[in-house]
């Protein structure tokens, strides 16, 4: 294994797909939140580097999965793409149009095509409004259908997501968690968007219900040619729905590529550790696999580590890792679409768990 020199060229987006197949292109997007002192004069004393120099591509009709732990910046990234918060630097292109920091008015037509499904079906539905009216909101906001026509379309949507259209006048409290998430899906689907951003859409649901919603999302994608940006911390759920996967750590993408490549032969030690840590619902797999137990916690994004942001927790870290930031690039033997930001990528068959350094050892 040899040190790979850092690539100083432009960050690779990890895709060699034709431009016409690209729905969303994110170029070097950075989002920093200022940290201010309290009091009258709110001096800025630092920046939370929530998303830092992230580039990715969502192809038409495909699913890009984003995995990462709490604080990795995956939800912030989603909000930047949806135009819910302005980006600090970088560019977001949707369907060939630059939509970076558009005004509210200019953003309006784009919002029809980008919808979101949120994590918690309990807090994302107004408890005092009837389900029909919640699902009909997009029609009202964008003035696309009124009266009887709106009701017909809403009931069609309800049927499509597996809800009984007769429950049009019920309140969210009368539905279970899985059904509520279907209401959220119906609302997202109302304007026939091109992209649906799913931010942890099933993590609040029980497994048997989770499978219902995942299957529904898959069916809708096939029927309407939707693209998904699918964010979750559950690696197996992401694997199940995604065509390609990006792994985030502390605001950066540390590895991305086709689902089979990233899961099959992870090159970044963090990806390898995440995969080894995920609980496998299979006793033999659980017993035979070597867990890579990471030491410590994710550092603060206000003052991220120098060089590779993962180096303080990395079992393979060497002095170079703390000094020089690795670039996302295809490693030896990988297809051009599988890129990793690591100076010393994991090689096939390497026993990372041997470098197991439990802090409690």
């Amino acid at each position: 294994m040899s040190a790979v020199p850092a690539n100083t060229g432009p960050a690779s987006t990890g895709t060699e797909i034709p431009e016409s197949d690209v729905l969303v292109r994110v170029d070097n997007v950075t989002k920093h939140f200022p940290v201010r002192t309290s009091g009258l004069i709110r001096r800025t004393i630092g920046q939370v580097q929530a998303v830092d120099d992230v580039s990715l591509v969502i192809p038409r009709g495909k699913t890009l999965g984003v995995v990462g732990e709490t604080g990795s910046g995956k939800s912030t990234l989603a909000r930047c793409i949806a135009g819910l918060i302005p980006v600090t630097a970088g560019r977001v292109t949707f369907d060939g149009r630059d939509i970076t920091n558009l005004s509210r008015r200019a953003m309006q037509p784009v919002r029809r095509e980008v919808q979101m499904i949120f994590q918690d079906p309990y807090s994302s539905l107004n408890p005092r409004r009837r389900v029909g009216s919640i699902i009909g909101d997009p029609f009202a906001i964008h003035k696309t259908a009124t009266g009887a026509e709106r009701k017909r379309q809403i009931q069609e949507l309800m049927e499509r997501v597996g809800l009984n259209p007769e429950h049009y006048n019920r309140f969210p409290a009368e539905f279970s968690g899985g059904q509520r998430q279907r209401i959220g899906v119906a609302r997202a689907l109302a304007l026939r968007p091109k992209l649906i951003i799913c931010d942890e859409p099933v993590s609040a649901l029980d497994v048997s219900i989770q499978a219902q919603v995942l299957n529904l999302l898959t069916d809708l994608q096939q029927d309407y040619g939707l693209s998904y940006l699918f964010i979750a911390h559950d690696l197996e759920v992401v694997r199940h729905v995604s065509d390609s996967v990006a792994v985030m750590y502390l605001g950066r993408i540390c590895e991305s590529g086709p689902e089979g490549d990233v899961y099959g032969s992870p090159r970044h030690p963090y990806t390898a550790a995440l995969l080894s840590a995920a609980p496998a619902a299979d006793p033999d797999t659980a017993a035979s696999r070597q867990r890579i137990i990471l030491t410590g916690d994710v550092p603060s994004p206000i003052d991220p580590p120098s060089g590779c942001r993962f180096h303080p927790r990395c079992p393979k870290a060497r002095p170079l890792c703390g000094e020089q930031e690795p670039q996302l690039e295809a490693k030896a033997g990988d297809p051009a679409s599988h890129v990793t930001a690591c100076h010393f990528p994991v090689v096939a068959g390497e026993d990372l768990a041997a470098a197991y350094r439990s802090e409690v050892a």
Binding site: E69, T70, G162, S176, G177, G178, Q179, D206, V207, S208, I209, Q210, A211, Q212, L214, N215, L216, T218, D219, H233, D234, L235, E236, V237, R239, H240, A273, L274, S276, A277, A278, P279, A280, A281, D282, P283, T285, A286, R291, I293, L294, G296, D297, V298, S358, E359, V360
Partner: protein
């Protein structure tokens, strides 16, 4: 050696809407040094079950027995119970942020646990032991962190502090109620690793309550699958994962994207868990079951042995031999359903199949029925 022996435990609550039958006749044993995994979805009664053992369910109507080291936990006075809680049986709750008091230092809270049970321990000794415990659960620079407040700890560290507290008095049994659900995967791995190691060191028995079959696959010896307040299936870990008998267990496995039972397309369980106030007749799972036949509608099955050695038990009317994921077992199940399903059960099966596309209901083309 049997440490805890629970027999026919019933727990119900009177509410304005009616009687909630949270636990309806559960029996199980926990041996010293063993790990029992209790799996179930929201509302299956798994938390109420264990909280009842420690008299943490005020207002509940409880019947049955729970013998721990020779005494019935359910007959204890409040005073006796205070000596069991924390000292003999301790609990780790799901959310470490709400389980720790935000206004007291972590070290003080760990020391308080010790001092509450042993008045002879001075404040200084208590703090020293807290440092020692925090070190044991892997908190770096424990002698400094002992003076931190909970908000200065990360989620994983808070859960470590909770574990330190649970260990403080060397209990014989630890009940961990979804201890890693609020944590990230890498931190979850750290905590499970820690629990396993501490258990091996001290020979403590563990009841692990979780909805995550992955956690169970990792650390349990025995598994009890709960549904609507009862054990649907109880077996060794291997039998539950590789030879499930109850259609609910099988359905859970097929719902998980990572399990060997799940194929390209997930097979969800149709419908929703039942209301515990208004339970269905017969087998409580029958409205959601792909193998429903007439007997399921009228008679509630009880746990019976489905393996030769009798350790694998299941509460389902399907033939005893119909365990596992093999084609032969599936044929046997389908044959039973064909013979036993009359009009009433067929209507239930149709309703289940119509609930969502893609569910597997024997005798009905799921896709077709749903469209």
């Amino acid at each position: 050696m049997t440490l805890l022996e629970v027999r026919d435990l019933h727990v119900s609550f009177n509410t304005a809407d009616g009687v909630v039958q949270a636990v309806r006749g559960v029996s199980f044993d926990v041996d010293a040094g063993q790990t029992l995994g209790i799996v179930g979805e929201s509302g299956s009664g798994k938390t109420v079950l264990t909280q009842t053992l420690l008299a943490l369910t005020p207002g509940a109507t409880v019947t049955g027995s729970a013998t721990f080291e020779g005494t019935d936990l359910l007959d204890m006075t409040e005073d006796q119970m205070r000596h069991v809680r924390g000292e003999r049986i301790s609990v780790i709750f799901q959310d470490p942020l709400t389980s720790l008091h935000p206004l007291y230092r972590v070290g003080w809270q760990v020391a308080e646990m010790i001092r509450a049970h042993d008045k002879s321990v001075s404040k200084k000794e208590g703090t020293e032991r807290a440092v020692e415990l925090l070190r044991r659960v892997g908190i770096p620079r424990a002698e400094q962190r002992v003076n931190d407040y909970p908000h200065q700890f990360s989620g994983g560290m808070r859960q470590r502090a909770m574990i330190a507290m649970a260990l403080a008095l060397s209990p014989r049994l630890i009940i961990a109620d979804e201890p890693t659900t609020a944590l990230d995967a890498t931190v979850q791995a750290q905590i499970l690793d820690l629990l396993l190691r501490l258990q091996q060191e001290s020979g403590t028995a563990l009841i692990m309550i979780t909805h995550d079959l992955g956690v169970v696959a990792d650390i349990a010896d025995e598994v009890m699958v709960m549904y609507a307040g009862r054990a649907a299936e109880k077996a060794s870990k291997r039998d539950v994962f590789y030879a499930p008998h109850h259609p609910y267990t099988k359905g859970l496995l097929e719902s998980i994207p990572s399990s060997s039972a799940a194929g390209d397309r997930l097979i969800p369980i149709p419908g929703q868990p039942p209301s515990l106030i208004n339970l269905p007749s017969g087998c409580k799972f029958h409205p959601r079951c792909g193998y429903v036949f007439d007997r399921c509608l009228t008679e509630e099955p009880v746990l019976r042995p489905v393996s030769e050695d009798g350790t694998h038990t299941s509460a389902c009317w399907l033939p005893v031999e119909a365990a596992g994921l093999s084609e032969k077992a599936e044929e046997l199940r389908e044959e039973t359903v064909r013979e036993g399903r009359g009009e009433a059960a067929a209507a239930v099966a149709e309703a289940a199949a119509a609930d969502i596309p893609g569910v597997a209901v024997v005798g009905i083309d799921g896709e077709g029925a749903a469209q």
